[in-house]
Assembly symmetry: C2
Homo-oligomer: 477 residues x 2
């Protein structure tokens, strides 16, 4: 048998893997951005059954190159503009590697105190960097925690809100632009879809209409429901629209409803003073808030930070203490046991990667990264605005630019089909990757800028490619 | 500002981190197993505010050594016998490093086909290695998926069960020995604690009593409840007791109730033919099954595998498709989108680490690892059995040995306190780390063997240390 990999073997293979990744980083532009494999192709190239005898590690790397890489869509490619960015960075990768190497399990403070205490420190640091309120710091009534995703963060916020409101016919308030994870969270929590209210948005701004929210909450309360949570979004997934958090918060405060703020993508932009306005009303009114350093803040997945203004209902909702987890530190009440802040029991030492990122970049470096994304988006938006062939969706406060090609003489249905064809031709080219959404019922392209490797030249090349393909398609009509 | 870490800087710092981990592996026995820090000590040693300017990476490593390591409890230490093992291994760490380096997001097949297809392959491989039924393979009706934890795996199994049964007054059946995550899952899913039935266990085997289960289900059905899921455990957390899965499964089949099998710790032991008996009844009756390669199968956290016999209710329960995630591959029905098999939307390329482990070790190497843990537990149990000072809990089919020191002339309460004192003296020594449970109301020590670095000599030294400390305490009485 192969036996365990010794420390010396690990040293040797580990350095090869580091070289592999450094080479991948340096050569990433040689790959098509979006994988070209067909369904089943990767699987068919792999053995159907596991090996009986151990194999040398180099064969894993060889198959990674030969079989897996063609099936990889390169999220770190500088011309990846699809969905939202999923930033990695050198310090984040190395922080995560240290976490894997230590192999500690941070379910309780007692199971590795540094895992818990570093997490408390870095989420407090991040609150400071984003200008979030003092009372959310863990030395006050609130506190932050690293979750695997904003989906899970919003789910535990909902569970805390249900705990505070009490179980009944709980109703939850979203808009048509709210992330699908809120609908999923409600379903998981046993809140039927009939109790998820979709509040109207303003057709121009795509932001939730607060007066409509107030009306719906009042009606529900009269009907005997328990209005439980409103989700306001700062930077929706579809178009980065921003709900009027202050006005929504005032309504939540009047009505005694939990205000959850989903700032998964955009929240980290508040590292820049000039973007702090996005959090207007958050300090006064939000009960919970999520943002994802794993999207636009250089920390590889998974790293969502959830803060709560009051940690008591969260812990009440999620704490179960069997005998085999009892320990003196927990019983002293002096420590945080983060298992009570999340769905799973076990947890990695994820704070290490966020710590490495915040130290390597410093506040200055983080601001520079966000600013460069916003500036490139501004420049692209200028080109779109100046073009007679495209309609730009305004505003575009962050790194996402949404726009719609104009197809003269085509019906809306045919124009949308032509836009989808354009998107597929662009993506098939391997030169860039972008995705779509629907705005006002119309197929709209989304170009999200924010990968660390992306420069102005990549954005310019993408725009030229879009214009060229658009003209080619127009000629074919 | 520091700016992004270049590929060449990553190469340099990455190799230092690999060296750091290799040195940590080689020198791990120089640390006390359990951290000795007091609550707040690590936090107090770290700056309260983040740095304004970026710092060199070497300062992260310096603070890791100086500030964090004293706060780390060393789960990979060969004398770590607490809780259950949380295995890491060289190939797993490197597989996870590749995942971090690629930085892909596998929420959909389309967002990186290799991420999904490799996962399908490795969970099918693991099913083969464990002798799990053919119809659980992804090319049949069932399928497997990597979840972050057995807690989350059991939660999604419960949601699938609720989907199949329909929402109503759903009742869930556990025993007093079932893992606390099932109670938590029920709470999350909106199933009140009054609808979680705790079925009696046999006081000798600590296994669920099937006749009692049948009675409770029948009574609930008469009372208008919707019996929804039974959780049977193979290897309970407290003592590795095994519920009678076949008999429970027959009842579930008669009653139309979902059978979930929690084999989080022990399931991986079925890589060994001589331990396959633990899964008796699973193939015929289980609707879902979880086991954790991140406990005893050499794959670092997080890596739970959940299988379902029929994937339809799982996907029905968890699928929500917003416009911005629509794509041709999903609509073709030819691909798996694993986001519909889990709580979060986003997901890491976790299959890489399990793939690296299965290839490096091969089936032979995995069996050897499990067998060595079982053999060491057997040997320790022999010493305990031979001692007049300790009572051994039988049977001990896996790597966990439970035993109770005997304190002549002490009341049960005083004896339990003495056992707790013994545990703390042992753990304070830094020479080993073990935890406790209660069996029949009595404080009982748990010594879980299974870290890859553990040898017979470590187990022998632990036992000698336990005997010595016990005698010292006896003399003090």
């Amino acid at each position: 048998m192969a036996g365990h990999m010794s420390a010396e073997e690990f040293r040797e293979h580990g350095k090869r893997v580091i070289d592999w990744i450094a080479d991948y980083m340096a050569g990433i532009e040689s790959y098509p951005v979006r994988s070209r494999v067909r369904p089943g192709e990767v699987r068919a190239a792999l053995p159907a059954y596991p090996p009986e005898r151990g194999e040398p590690f180099k064969r894993v790397l060889a198959d990674l190159d030969a079989i897996l890489l063609p099936g990889v869509t390169h999220w770190q490619h500088p011309s990846f503009f699809a969905y939202f960015p999923a930033n990695t960075s050198g310090p984040a990768i190395l922080g995560d590697l240290l976490s894997s190497g230590l192999g500690v399990q941070g379910m309780l403070w007692a199971t590795s105190p540094a895992c818990t205490e570093l997490e408390t420190v870095v989420v407090d640091w991040l609150a400071e960097l984003l200008g979030l309120p003092e009372h959310w710091r863990t030395d006050a009534r609130g506190g932050g925690v690293i979750e695997d995703s904003a989906s899970s963060g919003s789910l535990v916020a909902l569970l805390a809100a249900v705990r505070r409101a009490g179980r009944g016919r709980n109703t939850v308030y979203v808009s048509s632009q709210t992330h699908s994870s809120l609908e999923k969270a409600a379903a998981i929590a046993g809140i039927g879809s009939e109790n998820v209210r979709v509040v109207d948005v303003d057709p121009d701004t795509l932001a939730m209409r607060p007066e409509e929210l107030a009306t719906v909450i009042e009606r529900d309360r009269r009907d005997g429901a328990t209005p439980t949570m409103v989700c306001a979004t700062i930077g929706t997934t579809s178009t980065t629209a921003i709900d009027p958090v202050r006005r929504i918060g005032e309504i939540c405060a009047e009505q005694g409803v939990w205000l959850h703020v989903d700032a998964a993508y955009a929240g980290v932009a508040a590292v820049c003073d000039e973007l702090r306005w996005i959090n207007d009303g958050v300090a006064e009114f939000a009960d919970s808030y999520v943002t994802d350093p794993h999207k636009w803040l250089l920390t590889n997945f998974d790293c969502t930070v959830l803060w709560v203004a009051d940690r008591a209902p969260l812990i009440d909702a999620l704490s179960v203490v069997p005998e085999y987890l009892r320990n003196a530190a927990t019983e002293s009440g002096e420590v945080i046991d983060y298992r009570d802040w999340q769905i799973p029991l076990g947890r990695r030492f994820r704070a290490l990667k966020l710590w490495a990122v915040l130290r390597w970049y410093g506040a200055e470096g983080l601001r520079e990264h966000i600013r460069s994304g916003v500036a490139m988006a501004d420049e692209l938006a200028g080109w779109v605005r100046a073009s007679e062939d495209f309609a730009l969706l305004e505003p575009h406060p962050f790194g996402l630019v949404c726009f719609r090609p104009l197809w003269a003489n085509l019906s809306e249905t045919d124009a949308d089909a032509a836009t989808a064809t354009l998107r597929e031709r662009l993506n098939d080219s391997g030169e860039l990757y972008l995705t779509h959404t629907k705005v006002g019922g119309r197929m709209t392209l989304r170009l999200a800028i924010g990968a660390p490797a992306t420069t102005r030249e990549h954005v310019r090349a993408a725009w030229q490619h879009i214009e060229t393909e658009y003209r080619a398609l127009r000629r074919m009509d």
